[in-house]
Every structure is written in structure tokens, then in C-alpha cells.
């Protein structure tokens, strides 16, 4: 099948809703004489007074930079001759987001997906972390006062290698240290899946089909697709395994470890049922565990099976984060996997029991170091790629995960947020996502186009890469690989962080555990 190219061009992908949720709103009262002064002074085009119109249109509140404008010469509230304008925090932001994805992070992700750039400072978005009070949200980088070496963006390499074994299989490199997480056809719309696939092509990275079959429409992007073999084996066929460069075994998912997969009946539409060869409208459950795998030796047989079916494929093993995740990782390496993918307890899902999301298996922040160190101690760290997921929300999370010991990450929710997700958590039942992202409802799926979705993701990837490059520049690092395992560059806000001779200093760049 000829492979389609997708250009990595960054261009504006404006919000698809009429009223983008804004951090601040400008309120106009009845004293307004419609003189147009506000529209003249505002540099951000917040005020809309179309030529020939007598009245102002709805303001572009999402473009307003808020209080940081107060000291400028273009602050509309101060310039209004009638004093008719007022700047307020948008009360709707209190209802948007949650501890892990606060409103600021959602709005910043939207902004990055719109512009392809780092959110400008004046917007005052916290695009670095969430508000969960632990893990990544309490970790910070210890940047040196000035970079040890001045590096230009073009001198910095953000690519990572996914095959570290010398086994004759392709040495696949991806241009950014992340790829898209598995989301099955059934859990998300085909527009969402195709947008993810096309963005993966543009950025020379990957997307994953999840467990739900391989749409024929994905075929032009085969070279950037990971197909998943999960416990329900839904949609798994020899020909789909043969199409792709990477096959992923999903043993467990961070959001519901030990519980298998769930696709509730309402989302099992005719197209989904056809793809999964299942009965229309019934809930589909993937069991836990793989009933053909009860030991690492069984796992090795699984891997051999796939390696035999597709002689060029790399194998990824996706596991969750139990206490002995380190043992699982080493076992998986010895079974022949190329990628160990650990998915932490706070990862995303299309449907999971609430009791599982919060309570089973450890958050990814704990698991990364545990696995990385154990692989080091076993002397195999440089023969396997360690990928982390389950709560990677921002470029700073990517960098922190790598500094803790991962080679790269898998992202999922961040992509959906870029497509307009507000995390209302209604993806699981009925017609699915009311915003047309995680749904198979034909009408709701029309809420966005593949072109728009692709561009939003291309833009988000670009903004994240820029942020990563900014971090590497400040450390004077030429490659993202240099950051791996550099816990000495991190500090934790809840700890005393004593300067310790045992801890490596920023000048020790290049020495890594």
C-alpha cells in the first residue's frame, strides 16, 4: 500500500467552538458608546467591531492576556473613555478541569494546539504541570544560572531509538521522544484515530491502534502504526500484524490494571461490531490476564509468535505498574521485547471502574526510576527502550519522566485535550463523547474534521518539542538521550533537597546513571 506523506507545516488551527473558554473575560456594560477605542488599542484582537456594524460582536476573550496587560499602554479597561469595561476571571474556569488537569493546563494545551508554539508568557498559563500535589507536579528542574554551552535549536537532537537490540530488525528512530497511545476504534472516532496517525506521520513517530482492529483507512499510514495484541484479541489478524513496524502486547492498562478492557454496549455500533467480529450492542470485555501467558516463558512464546509472523517488526510490551514492575520489565527484556512500556496508575481510559483508576498499581513517577535502576543493575539498560505513560500531560512531564530514567513516553489524554477534550469523563457510555472525540456515533463524529485534528496535533507536538529544546538548551545538552536518568537535575518541592556530594551537579552533564 503506498504510504501517504503529511507535511510538518505549522499553521493556525483555531478552536472549533464559537466561544473558546477563556481564562479572563472582558465585560462591557451599558455605558459603552461604541466609540471603538478598545478595538483600536487592543493588540490581541479581543474586541470585535466589524466594519459596517454598529454593535460589538462577541469578544475573543480567549485572546485576552488578563491582568498582565494592566501596566501596558494598550489596556482597554483603562483606555475606555466611558469606563465601560471590566476585566474578570472567567467563572467557568472553576468548573473546568481537575487536580491532574487544571483549567490552566487544558487552556494552555488548547493554545499550543492552535498556534504550534509555546504559550506566550503574558497569558500566564501554567503549561508545565498540574495541581495534584505529588509526583511530577512537585518535581522541578534545577537549571544552572546560565547554560554550560550555548546551543542553537538545530544542534539539539530530540530523537530516540526504539530498537536497542542488535537483532537484525530495523533500527527505528522517532523524531520526538513520544508516540501516541493505543486508542481502539470503538473507544474513539475514526476521525480521532486518523488525525493521530497523520500527526505521527508528520512527526516521524507512531500512533497505536489499541485493541479494536485496524481500520482499512489507516493503511496509508502503516509505517507509523503500532498495532496492539491485547487479551481480548479483538481485531487481531495475521495480515494486520504483518503491516506494521511495531506490535504491542498489552498485558494491562494503567487506568484499570488487572481488570482487562471494557467497551460498554452503547459504543458497540455496527461498524465497531464488524471490526471486532462481535455481536452488535453488547458490552465487550477483554479478560485479564492473557490466558495463554502465566510466566515469562509463555510471554517469550508470544513474542516469538509475532516475530515469526512479521520478521521486521519490533515488539513492545505494555505492562502496568505493580510492586514488582522492575522484575516484569527485566523478564520482558529477557523474553525478547524491544520496548518495555510501563503504564502508570493514573493513565487515561475510555472506560474504567472508578475504584481501579485511583487505587490499583503505583503512579508512573515511582515506577520509572524503579525499572530504570533495575535494568541498570542487571546490565541491560542500553539493550531495551523504556517507555513511560500514564499521566504524561505536558512537555515538562516528558522531560521529568526522561530525567527519572525513561527513554521516551507515550501520550494519550494530552492529544485528546488538543482536540478539544474537557475531561468531563463521559467517554464511556451512551453515544460517547459529546465533543465528538471519543465516540463512534456518526453524528457526533462529524464535530471535527481529520484535517483540523491533524493540524492541532502537529501543532501540539511542535510546541512540546520547542519546550523540550528550551530545557535541553538550559542544560547545554545536545540530545534528549543525555537527559535520561539525570535525577541530579531534579528537585522535589516537598523535600529538603540538600546539596549532596553523592548527587551529580549540573556541570556533570554526560555522566548518567
Amino acid at each position: 500500500m503506498p504510504q501517504e506523506e503529511v507535511s510538518r507545516v505549522i499553521k493556525s488551527a483555531p478552536p472549533r467552538y464559537r466561544n473558546e473558554i477563556a481564562k479572563y473575560i472582558v465585560h462591557r456594560n451599558l455605558n459603552c458608546k461604541r466609540c471603538g477605542k478598545c478595538a483600536q488599542v487592543c493588540l490581541y484582537k479581543v474586541h470585535v467591531l466589524k466594519p459596517g456594524y454598529k454593535y460589538f460582536g462577541e469578544p475573543n476573550n480567549h485572546l485576552c492576556i488578563g491582568p498582565s496587560c494592566e501596566k501596558s499602554s494598550h489596556y482597554c479597561v483603562a483606555k475606555c473613555p466611558q469606563g465601560a469595561l471590566q476585566l474578570k476571571e472567567n467563572p467557568a474556569c472553576k468548573a473546568l478541569g481537575d487536580y491532574r488537569w487544571p483549567a490552566d493546563l487544558i487552556l494552555a494545551t488548547w493554545k499550543m494546539a492552535e498556534t504550534g508554539d509555546v504559550p506566550p508568557k503574558e497569558y500566564d498559563y501554567n503549561y508545565k504541570c498540574g495541581n495534584s500535589g505529588g509526583g511530577f507536579d512537585r518535581l522541578r528542574f534545577k537549571f544552572p544560572d546560565k547554560p554550560p554551552v550555548q546551543l542553537d535549536e538545530s544542534q539539539i537532537d530530540t530523537s530516540i531509538s526504539l530498537n536497542k537490540r542488535d537483532d537484525g530488525r530495523p533500527k527505528i528512530k522517532i523524531d520526538v521522544p513520544w508516540y501516541g497511545g493505543g486508542m481502539s476504534f470503538g473507544s474513539v472516532s475514526n476521525v480521532t484515530q486518523l488525525s493521530k496517525a497523520r500527526a505521527a506521520v508528520a512527526w516521524n513517530t507512531f500512533t497505536c491502534t489499541g485493541e479494536g482492529g485496524y481500520m482499512e483507512r489507516m493503511r496509508p499510514y502503516d509505517d507509523h502504526v503500532i498495532t496492539q495484541v491485547a487479551t481480548g484479541l479483538f481485531g487481531v489478524r495475521e495480515e494486520t500484524i504483518q503491516r506494521v513496524p511495531i506490535v504491542e502486547f498489552k498485558y494491562a492498562q494503567g487506568a484499570k490494571p488487572g481488570l482487562g478492557g471494557h467497551l460498554l454496549g452503547d459504543k458497540n455500533t455496527p461498524a465497531v461490531a464488524r471490526m471486532r467480529e462481535a455481536v452488535l450492542g453488547i458490552s465487550l470485555f477483554s479478560p485479564f490476564p492473557f490466558h495463554s501467558v502465566y510466566s515469562i516463558e509463555d510471554h517469550a512464546k508470544h513474542i516469538e509468535w509475532i516475530k515469526h509472523v512479521n520478521r521486521r517488526a519490533l515488539i513492545s510490551t505494555k505492562v502496568s505498574t505493580p510492586t514488582d514492575v522492575d522484575m516484569v520489565a527485566v523478564g520482558s527484556y529477557s523474553a525478547g521485547t524491544h520496548i518495555v512500556h510501563i503504564d502508570g496508575g493514573y493513565g487515561g481510559t475510555g472506560a474504567a471502574p472508578d475504584i481501579a483508576k485511583k487505587n490499583i498499581a503505583m503512579p508512573i513517577e515511582y515506577a520509572i526510576g524503579k525499572v530504570h535502576n533495575f535494568l541498570m543493575d542487571e546490565g541491560v539498560r542500553d539493550k531495551v527502550t523504556l517507555i513511560a505513560s500514564g499521566g504524561i500531560r505536558s512537555a515538562h512531564d516528558v522531560a521529568k519522566a526522561i530525567a527519572l530514567g525513561a527513554d521516551g513516553v507515550v501520550i494519550g489524554t494530552a492529544e485528546l485535550v488538543a482536540l478539544g477534550c474537557v475531561r468531563c469523563s463521559r467517554c464511556e457510555s451512551g453515544r460517547g463523547c459529546p465533543r465528538g472525540i471519543a465516540t463512534t456515533d456518526p453524528e457526533l463524529s462529524k464535530k471535527m474534521t481529520i484535517e483540523w485534528g491533524t493540524q492541532r496535533l502537529i501543532n501540539l507536538y511542535n510546541a512540546w518539542r520547542k519546550i523540550l529544546i528550551g530545557i535541553l538548551q538550559r542544560f547545554g545538552m545536545r540530545s534528549i538521550a543525555e537527559l535520561r536518568g539525570r535525577t541530579d537535575l531534579l528537585m522535589h518541592l516537598d523535600y529538603t533537597n540538600p546539596p549532596s556530594p553523592g548527587l551529580r551537579r549540573t556541570s556533570d552533564v554526560g555522566t548518567k546513571r
Binding site: N19, I21, E58, A92, K94, A95, L96, D98, Y99, S132, G133, G134, D137, R138, P257, G258, L259, L264, F288, F290, H291, Y294, I296, V319, S320, P322, T323, D324, G331, G345, G348, T349, A351, A352, D354, I355, A356, K357, K358, N359, I360, A361, M362, G369, K370, G390, V422, R423, C424, S425, R426, C427, G430, P434, L490, D494, Y495, T496, P498, L503
Partner: protein
């Protein structure tokens, strides 16, 4: 195939309007009356339902807010007249421990008897206080199941209550000692007495019938017993210091009885055993400052079979509220108290002989599993069952004060249905987490801290090594 434990359930809709998390504020005066109004496009049809509700409004203080918080209407309104907000009625539910989320999810389970399932990942804090500072473990590849290969339908949640023998001794084929009588219940849960503040007509009758429906046992204060002796197998009388004596005939129909702790506890147990040799006697120990050591001390007494430790409603040591408010002392939480008592009894060498029941602060099904992992054999609850009846935990239960949930008007079938549904949902969730852990027996889960990960340990292992000491230590 042996008969499986199954609780029969059916949906029991709420009596009161639902209290949703979100509400949409609407500035209707500027409405342009668009023909394609976003309200018509609501995927959940909430605007039409709300209008219909208001048209048929019969209760002045009832509000309708069941918005799903998708922001679609807010973002698509032609004139931007809609604004999403958190429903203040939702925020006012419960208290700092019994959060609005706990109240809402309990209502949902009491209505549907189903395990709450949702999309998107976990949305809460990284870790929290009490039970929120631990995670249960799961099995994977190298040990997919702890107890051999089994389907979820083979997971047993039954527990035995009573004093067990430390070991069996045989003379040839014949056991030399008679094993003491044990009470078996199909789930590690006992319904505890309600707080005196929560006195409702029929409450004890509803609770008793719920115990019958679920095969469990409810502890009823002997002073409140109606005299009905039909369901005594599912009742454990609580005999307090000033309790009414229960007729011998009635007591003989029960399997478990609970007595208040006192200096005469041995005599009291002997007295009850004399009346009914097969009865299992539990000693209730209030977890005051002295309660923890007292529980450990009781475990050493040969006559004591079951110790029931009870913390306050929020799981804290009783009487710690004032020190908590003053910030002078961090109260001990039930999870840590259970671990302490469990470990202490193990060190004394008689843990397997004693049954430890723990109550207070158990608000969600994961708390049930976690309390058992910490060392309890079974757990007692009462507040979640009251919440199942749509209680808001507004704590205004005083004579003469109106109850916003109108609990005084509940129907018997409604009450039993809601409580039964809640227990069924908890049972299913216990099976879920045990399935994830690869455990086949809830009895084997007791004290198996290897099936859990604790925040302080993980922090120390991960970040303590890298970043020094934790500041709040």
C-alpha cells in the same frame, strides 16, 4: 458447581431530584432566540428535562442540576450567554472527609447496584489522607494469579468470625480438640449500629432486612429491638453498659452478640456463653487514646473471640477532633491503628486466633479492601448505608429541624432496596480489586501488606533517596 454468593438487586430510583456537580448559568435576557439553539442540541437532553421538571414542580426547595459538564452548549451558544459553574448544592454535600464525590458515588451505587465506571483517567489528588495514602497491588505476567489460575467467579469473599484454634491436634484420625463455633458470613462486612443522632422510624427494620437480603449481620442496640424474633440469625445484639437484657430464647436464635468493653468483660462473655454456648461474642472497643492498647490487651485474653475496634465517623481516633482543630496533634487514622493492632497481636503470637473487626471512616469499597490488607478480618459500616438513603450528611439531624433528604418519609422497600444495592456494588468492587490482585480468598488478604503499596514507603524509596528528607516529617 457450588452455589455462588449473589445479591439480588434491582434499580431503586432516587426520591429527590439528583444533585449534579455542574450547573449552567443562563443570561436569558440577551437571548437571540436562535432557531438552532444549543439547548436543543444537548447530547444528554438536559435542557428539555429541566424544563419539564420545572413545569411539574411540586417541591419548592428541590433543584434540578444534572448537567454532565461537557461545555458544548457554553462554547457553542451564538451569543455566549451560558456559563458553566459548580453546583453549590453539590459542594455543600458531606464534609471534608465524606466528600461530595463520596456522597454522589454512593447514591449512584445505591440506585443502580452497579460498579461506577467512567471515562478519562483519574482526576483527583496524587495521594491523600488515610486510605488515600495507599494503593492496592496487582498481578502481572510473572505471577498473574497468586492463588492459581481461576476465574473471577471463583473468588471467595466469605469470612469466619470467632476464635480459631492455633493448630489442630490428632489422635490417630480423630481430632483431640473440638474446634470452637464460628460464624460465617459471605462478605467481610457487618452493618454497625447507627449513631444516636440518626434515629429514623423503621431504620433498624430496614437495616435488618438488608442484612437478610445480603446474608450479612447487623448490629442492633438491644435497647432498640422491636421484639420481632423472625430474623435474629442476621442480628447481633449490642449489649451496652446500660442495655436491656435480651430474653434467653431470642439470644439463642442469634449467632453473634456484641458487648461493651469493661473490666468485667470475661465474666460477661462467660455469662453469655452459658446462656447460648454456640454464640460468638465480640467486644466493642472505642478507639480513644487508650483504646488501641486495650484492644491489644484483650487479644491476650483467652475468652475473647472477636474484637471490634471503632474509630470516629471520619476514621480518626475518638476524641481527637479538638486536637485536630487546635493543630496540636495529628490524630491516628483507622488504617494505621489497624496495622498497629494487627502487628502487635502477631508479635504476641495469637493473631490467627482472634477476629478483628474494624469500623469508622470506611466510606468507599476500596476502604473495605484496604482495611483488610492492613489487618482487619472484616469491616463494619453504617454511614454509607444512611447516605444510600440520599442523606446529605448535613449534620442537622435534630428534632424539629427539617431533613433536606426527608429521611423521615422513606418507604421500607425503598430503604432496603437502596442499602442492598449499595452492598452488592461494594461486593462486586471487592471482587474486582481482588481479581486485579490475583487473590482468590478474602481471608488470605488479611494483613497481606505485600498486596499494597504505601505512600510513605514509595516516596522514601523513590524520592527520599534522591532529595533528602520529606519536609513535613
Amino acid at each position: 458447581m457450588p452455589e455462588k454468593y449473589h445479591i439480588k438487586t434491582q434499580p431503586v430510583p432516587p426520591r429527590r431530584p439528583r444533585i449534579g456537580k455542574y450547573g449552567v448559568v443562563d443570561w436569558r435576557e440577551d437571548c437571540a432566540r436562535c432557531h438552532n439553539c444549543v439547548k436543543k442540541a444537548c447530547v444528554y437532553d438536559r435542557y428539555r428535562q429541566e424544563a419539564e421538571y420545572i413545569r411539574n414542580l411540586s417541591d419548592v426547595d428541590a433543584l434540578f442540576f444534572d448537567c454532565m459538564g461537557c461545555f458544548s452548549c457554553v462554547q457553542d451558544c451564538t451569543k455566549g450567554l451560558l456559563c458553566m459553574s459548580i453546583n453549590p448544592a453539590y459542594e455543600n454535600l458531606g464534609n471534608s472527609y465524606w466528600t461530595p464525590y463520596i456522597i454522589k458515588t454512593t447514591w449512584l451505587q445505591a440506585e443502580t447496584a452497579k460498579i461506577p465506571v467512567s471515562g478519562a483517567g483519574y482526576q483527583g489528588p496524587f495521594a491523600g489522607y488515610g486510605f488515600d495514602s495507599m494503593w492496592t497491588d496487582m498481578s502481572e505476567i510473572v505471577r498473574p494469579t497468586r492463588d492459581g489460575i481461576h476465574g473471577r467467579e471463583y473468588i471467595s469473599t466469605s469470612v469466619d468470625i470467632g476464635r480459631k484454634l492455633p493448630y489442630l491436634d490428632f489422635d490417630g484420625d480423630k481430632a483431640t480438640a473440638n474446634p470452637p463455633h464460628l460464624v460465617s458470613i459471605p462478605m467481610p462486612l457487618i452493618i454497625d449500629m447507627s449513631s444516636p443522632a440518626h434515629t429514623l422510624p423503621q431504620l433498624d427494620a430496614i437495616i435488618t432486612q438488608t442484612a437478610v437480603n445480603t446474608g450479612l449481620i447487623a448490629i442492633i442496640d438491644s435497647r432498640h429491638w422491636s421484639g420481632d424474633d423472625k430474623q435474629l440469625e442476621h442480628i447481633a445484639f449490642y449489649l451496652g453498659p446500660d442495655s436491656t437484657d435480651i430474653p434467653k430464647e431470642a439470644l439463642r436464635k442469634t449467632r453473634l452478640v456484641e458487648i461493651a468493653d469493661s473490666s468485667k468483660v470475661i465474666d460477661r462473655i462467660k455469662e453469655l456463653k452459658k446462656m447460648h454456648p454456640k454464640i460468638v461474642v465480640a467486644v466493642r472497643v472505642e478507639l480513644t487514646a487508650a483504646g488501641v492498647e486495650r484492644a491489644i490487651q484483650l487479644a491476650e485474653i483467652e475468652e475473647v473471640e472477636v474484637i471490634h475496634i471503632v474509630a470516629d465517623a471520619n476514621g480518626n481516633e475518638i476524641g481527637s477532633t479538638s486536637s485536630l482543630q487546635a493543630g496540636t496533634q495529628k490524630p491516628q487514622f483507622i488504617k494505621d491503628i489497624i496495622r498497629h493492632i494487627h502487628t502487635a497481636i502477631i508479635e504476641k503470637g495469637n493473631r490467627d486466633e482472634i477476629t478483628l473487626m474494624a469500623g469508622g471512616g470506611v466510606a468507599l469499597p476500596e476502604h473495605l479492601a484496604k482495611a483488610i490488607i492492613c489487618g482487619a478480618d472484616l469491616v463494619t459500616i453504617n454511614l454509607p448505608l444512611l447516605i444510600a438513603l440520599e442523606c446529605h450528611l448535613c449534620e442537622s439531624c435534630k428534632p424539629g429541624m427539617p431533613c433536606p433528604a426527608k429521611l423521615e418519609k422513606i418507604d421500607f422497600d425503598y430503604g432496603v432496596g437502596r442499602m442492598t444495592n449499595l452492598i452488592a456494588a461494594w461486593h462486586d468492587q471487592l471482587v474486582e480489586v481482588m481479581g486485579a490482585m490475583g487473590m482468590r480468598e478474602v481471608r488470605r488478604l488479611r494483613g497481606d501488606v505485600g498486596r499494597a503499596m504505601f505512600f510513605e514507603n514509595l516516596e522514601e524509596e523513590t524520592f527520599g533517596k534522591l532529595f533528602g528528607s520529606r519536609k513535613n516529617n
